[in-house]
């Protein structure tokens, strides 16, 4: 394990993060955006766990925060889906570009 440093994990998580951002930008389907969010969160989590593994002072804290992030992500997904269902009830679509009521 020692020969596999922290950097590869960080790079992978950066990649996932970028993919998540791209999802935000490119998906018009609300649920697609939600998936992007999940990607971003997972990227963050990879960082946490990798640091927990490779930084001696974070052995516990890294995992703890990863757990917290997972739980919060689940909660966020639930609420987000509820919101989307609501959105769907009102707009008969989940295309976020339709939801422009807040347009200035």
């Amino acid at each position: 394990m020692t020969d596999l440093g922290l950097t590869p994990f960080l790079t992978l998580s950066a990649f996932l993060f970028a993919c998540g951002i791209l999802c935000f930008a490119a998906k018009r389907n609300a649920i697609g955006i939600l998936m992007g969010v999940e990607l971003v969160l997972n990227a963050a989590n990879i960082n946490f766990v990798a640091c927990a593994r490779f930084v001696p002072s974070l052995r516990l804290e890294g995992q703890v925060f990863a757990v917290l992030v997972i739980v919060l992500a689940a909660a966020e997904a639930a609420v987000a889906l509820a919101i989307f269902l609501n959105f769907y009830n009102n707009h008969a679509t989940v295309d976020v570009d339709e939801g422009t009521e807040l347009k200035g």
């Binding site: 951002i21 930008a25 998906k27 955006i33 570009d97 422009t100 200035g104």
Partner: protein, 729 residues
């Protein structure tokens, strides 16, 4: 409970001070609670019931009784404190320092500059200090005050109904009908009493100032008690504003004292000043003068001295007991009391000013009083004149005389006013002397008790007024003898002694003697209820005997006078030793002159209003009388000098702020000035921000993904900056 008072009996006076406040606080708190509870549909429970009991919105008499009870209680406490004080004072076992310690307490209230390092922290303090003057005056105020309260119970009785008709106010539907304000009246009275007492026991100028302002605002409430009457509200405003002028001076004085000496405690200030009245170290001559003059200006305003005397007669608009309270016990006494209390703080020149102001005042007021037909106004001017006497006395070094006169005057002036009130009530709110006459048959008690007061004020021997006025005249004479340049200070008071006798007897003759000039009013006249006559009798007794000592025929032997004399500050003897000595030897001469003048005045009055048909004198119209009727045209002068310019200025200011009228076509004078300048600028700002907002709105596309993109862009930029920075070092 008792040991609370044992070590520091001065707390008796504190308790007596706070007692009249109790009903007020109760009423205010319960009313507040009630109003807080009301919007939620709840009745407010106990709060509203207390409120109701105190006569908050119903005109129940309970509030009045409660306040009276409180006042009586404080009177009792005051008497107890007085006796205790003199027991201490005559206790050989107690050194003055111990007495001082027993009767003085103070605590820091607001610390100022505690963080400053360059000078020690100073503090606004709360505290009390009881000395002879305070104790005596305090007792006087509480006693007279409770008598007046009792009187008001009778006088304001018709306020205690839900439907009061005010005959002075004419609305389109006949007279004004309003709810009675019995409870409110006594609320004000209680507050008034509290403020005055607080002012009396205060040991520092700041607390005095607080009481000062409270007294002012209470007088405002009470003078304007009949709010619906324009004259009443105008008088209230006048009193308030004129007092503000004086208070401004007072504040300046306080500010100087605080900034120079770092303390406002009167005793400390006195300790700093040399006994001979020369300027203390650490303060420039002019500043010292300014401080003295400022303090005195405050007293001028409160005790209605010469330049600012115009408000007092107008204050007659208030209910008569209020006039009695203001004139006799509380408000106007404050000024004289303060001058007495701070006597050592006044430089000799300031004292001279005081003396002259007093002299001018007493003469002016007396002259005006001779021609007034409104019974209360006559009394009002007499008050001003008597206050002038006191000021004069203080100015010429007659510390004892002035304050002695303050005490005695309190009694007989209260008596006179209450008598006047009883007359007015008996005549169903008829105040015009020219329509009275012969009332002694209808209301004997009032008549003869008032006669006592008249005799007392005009200095007839063996009545309280005699002793004090005699002393004042003596001091004035002595001063005149010592300083021939200031002979005016001797002449005016002696002349005025005659004037006083004249107008007071004129009043009594017009009111009670002779034949009734208004048969209708006369028939409806009746004697007042016991609640009003009892105070009259008691006060008559006081004004008869307050000054007595043994032997009674010796004007200098007054016991009260001696009590006061022992409390005289050292500075008096140190500064005015020679004058007082001179006064002592001229005493007999002064008394004789005073009596002579009084006799002349009495005779003249008797000739004009008893021997001759009073109407001739009443209708007489010579330039001099016109001048006097117009009170030397003071009001007109002030009106022209101050009021009109102020009003004009205000109008101009208002004109600049006129709103531009809706239609552009018509052209009010406001539109030319304003939209270009003030509103123009503001409107420009508003429109600018509105446009900015309208532009910013367009950024709000409502497209989530754009927001995300912007967000990501921000992150990228920030991260890039961060990286660049970390790279560099």
């Amino acid at each position: 409970m008792l040991d609370l008072f044992r070590d520091s009996p001065g707390r008796l006076f504190v308790a007596a001070t706070l007692l009249p406040l109790v009903p007020v606080v109760l009423l205010v708190l319960s009313g507040t609670a009630r109003n807080l509870a009301r919007p939620h549909g709840r009745s407010g429970g106990w709060a509203s019931s207390i409120y109701w009991l105190l006569g908050g919105d119903h005109s129940l008499k309970t509030g009045g009784y409660l306040t009276l009870a409180a006042m009586l209680g404080s009177a009792v406490l005051a008497v107890a404190g007085l006796t205790q004080y003199f027991a201490d004072a005559h206790d050989p076992g107690l050194s003055p320092a111990q007495i001082e310690a027993r009767w003085t307490e103070r605590t820091d209230w607001v610390r100022i500059g505690a963080d400053r390092t360059d000078h020690p922290a100073t503090a606004l303090q709360l505290g009390y200090r009881i000395d002879r003057l305070t104790a005596l005056l305090f007792t006087m105020v509480t006693v007279v005050g409770s008598l007046i309260f009792l009187f008001s119970l009778g006088y304001m009785a018709d306020e205690a109904s839900d439907q009061v008709t005010d005959h002075e106010v004419h609305t389109d539907g006949g007279h004004l009908h309003r709810r009675g304000r019995f409870g409110r009246f006594f609320l004000y009275l209680g507050l008034f009493a509290f403020s005055m007492l607080n002012l009396l026991i205060a040991d520092n100028l700041f607390q005095v100032f607080v009481g000062w302002e409270l007294v002012g605002v209470c007088s405002f409430f009470l003078i304007g008690f009949y709010t619906e009457r324009p004259s009443a509200s105008a008088a209230a405003n006048k009193a308030f504003i004129v007092n503000r002028i004086g208070d401004a001076g007072f504040l300046i004085g306080i500010a100087i004292a605080f900034s120079v000496f770092g303390t406002l405690n009167i005793q400390e200030l006195i300790a700093r000043t040399p006994a001979d009245g020369s300027t203390p170290t650490g303060i420039s001559e002019n500043l010292w003068l300014a401080m003295g003059l400022g303090l005195f200006l405050g007293c001028v305003g409160k005790s209605a001295q010469f330049p600012l005397h115009t408000w007092l007669p107008d204050a007659m608009e208030g209910p008569t007991p209020v006039s009695a309270l203001i004139h006799a016990a509380t408000m106007v006494a404050a000024g004289v009391y303060l001058v007495g209390r701070c006597f050592p703080l006044f430089a000799p020149d300031v004292l001279l000013v005081i003396a002259y102001v007093g002299a001018i005042t007493l003469f002016l007021a007396a002259t005006i009083a001779t021609v007034q037909n409104d019974i209360k106004r006559v009394l009002a001017y007499s008050t001003v004149s008597q206050l002038g006497y006191m000021m004069l006395a203080l100015g010429v070094g007659g510390w004892t005389a002035g304050l002695f006169h303050l005490l005695t005057h309190a009694f007989f002036k209260a008596l006179l006013f209450l008598g006047a009130g009883s007359v007015i009530l008996g005549l169903h709110h008829e105040q015009d002397l020219s329509r009275m006459g012969g009332l002694r048959r209808k209301m004997p008690v009032t008549a003869y008790t008032m006669l006592v007061g008249v005799l007392a004020i005009s200095g007839v021997p063996f009545l309280s007024g005699w002793y004090s006025k005699d002393m004042i005249l003596a001091d004035a004479l002595g001063f005149g003898a010592a300083h021939p340049r200031h002979v005016l200070l001797t002449v005016l008071p002696i002349l005025t002694a005659g004037l006083t006798a004249f107008y007071m007897f004129r009043l009594w003759f017009l009111a009670f003697a002779g034949q009734p000039r208004d048969r209708h009013a006369y028939d409806r006249a009746h004697e007042s209820p016991w609640a009003m006559t009892l105070p009259l009798v008691v006060l008559a007794a006081f004004s008869l005997a307050a000054g007595w000592g043994w032997p009674v025929w010796d004007a200098t032997a007054s016991y009260l006078g001696h009590l006061l004399h022992d409390g005289e500050p050292a500075a008096v003897a140190a500064r005015f030793g020679s004058e007082l000595a001179a006064a002592h030897e001229h005493h007999l001469l002064a008394g004789g002159l005073g009596l002579l003048m009084a006799a002349i005045g009495l005779a003249f009055a008797a000739f004009m209003y008893v021997a001759r048909d009073p109407t001739i004198a009443l209708e007489a119209d010579t330039p001099l009388i016109t001048l006097l009727r117009h009170k030397w045209y003071f009001d007109e002068a002030y009106d022209a000098a101050f009021v009109r310019p102020t009003v004009a200025l205000a109008a101009a200011a208002a004109a600049t702020d006129k709103r531009p009228t809706a239609s552009v076509t018509d052209d009010t004078e406001g539109r030319r000035i304003d939209p270009g300048t003030l509103d123009g600028a503001l409107t420009a700002v508003g429109q600018l921000s509105a446009r900015l907002g309208a532009w910013l709105r367009t950024l709000q596309t409502g497209l989530v993904r754009q927001y995300v993109l912007v967000l990501a862009l921000t992150v990228v930029v920030l991260l890039g900056m961060l990286t660049a920075l970390t790279r560099n070092n």
